[in-house]
Symmetry: C2
Subunit: 198 residues, 2 copies
């Protein structure tokens, strides 16, 4: 019994999606061909279109269909403040807080030596060029508070401070609404060290 070759090829292609194993890929292929050919055609076209049109913003490095994205073109924003995030979704989260009116730089990753992800992969040269444009006066590091995110922030901080820039980091502490009883000791320790005069 032979599986049709174009079905095998499709299953193999689906396996290249992050987090998709062989069983799931096969189930997806069967589902698409049997029950949802519209979705398959739609996905085929969306992938081709995105590959054709999506590039990285020349200034902030995020995904865009233009040379410079709309955020970077917005003259209402504070061009002296530059917030560094790991991904476009982190930028969306910060935008939702309405607490930052400056511009962004999107690393599209984080330093992870064990996975072979170094400074080049997070576009550090592009960030340095962007941050030293003479207009930016403060760089706010908003990478995640994971080990890798912290290491990334530290590395960028050292690099940019060496070039005379003011660099800050989002505050760590007890989450809003957090009950101390349910917050981990490391977070409480950090909140104690970073305590503010009221």
């Amino acid at each position: 019994m032979k599986t049709p070759s174009s079905l095998t090829v499709l299953t193999d292609s689906l396996r290249r999606l992050p987090g998709i194993g062989p069983k799931t890929a096969q189930r997806m292929a069967y589902h698409l061909l049997q029950h949802d050919r519209d979705a398959a055609a739609d996905l085929s076209q969306s992938l081709a279109k995105a590959l054709d049109t999506i590039r990285h913003c020349a200034l902030c490095n995020t995904f865009t269909e233009q040379v410079v994205c709309e955020t970077c073109q917005d003259s209402q924003r504070d061009h002296t403040q530059l917030c560094v995030v790991e991904s476009p979704s982190d930028q969306v989260m910060i935008e939702q807080t309405l607490t930052f009116k400056g511009l962004y730089f999107v690393l599209m990753g984080r330093l992870s030596p064990l996975d072979g992800i170094g400074p080049r992969d997070i576009h550090l040269e592009k960030l340095i060029t962007r941050a030293t444009d003479g207009v930016v006066s403060e760089v706010v590091l908003a990478t995640n508070f994971t080990n890798e995110g912290e290491a990334t922030a530290h590395y960028i901080s050292e690099t940019l401070k060496a070039r005379g820039l003011k660099v800050s980091r989002l505050a760590r502490g007890v989450p809003v609404g957090g009950e101390l009883e349910y917050v981990d000791a490391g977070t409480i320790a950090r909140a104690m060290l970073d305590r503010r005069t009221t």
Copy 2:
């Protein structure tokens, strides 16, 4: 801040894959565009190719690139025996046992009234036509031993017996290597009822 439209479209398309939620779809889209454009191009082309070439075997209903699949064309097989399975992967499992030398019919699903999946969706008319070709003398039901698989087997059994065909079902019982202590009571009860003289 606006997400580029072709990125939104791609994320929406990925969400149409079974079991993929909005967060996963977004992570996949970022990953493909940032780290694996080859995989994205590959998937786009595989989907288009499969949609173009994959059809259902005129005889057994499985996926094939021909009018009649290779298994159905195999003259070495016993054309009097027809094994009914839910999916191509079930057929692969049975083939691996080397215990069945007949032909197959692949339902591409199972009856599931609650999900609106009725006899038409499992190609029952096509199965009846196939099973009553005058050559098939026994139909072996190898749908899953789930509630839906059992209901499907029962429905097909009644339909085909009414047309004078011999219909059998894979035996239920204690799995090979199974320790009674760890087998559920329903399985043991069934094994007791179906006990065989040795």
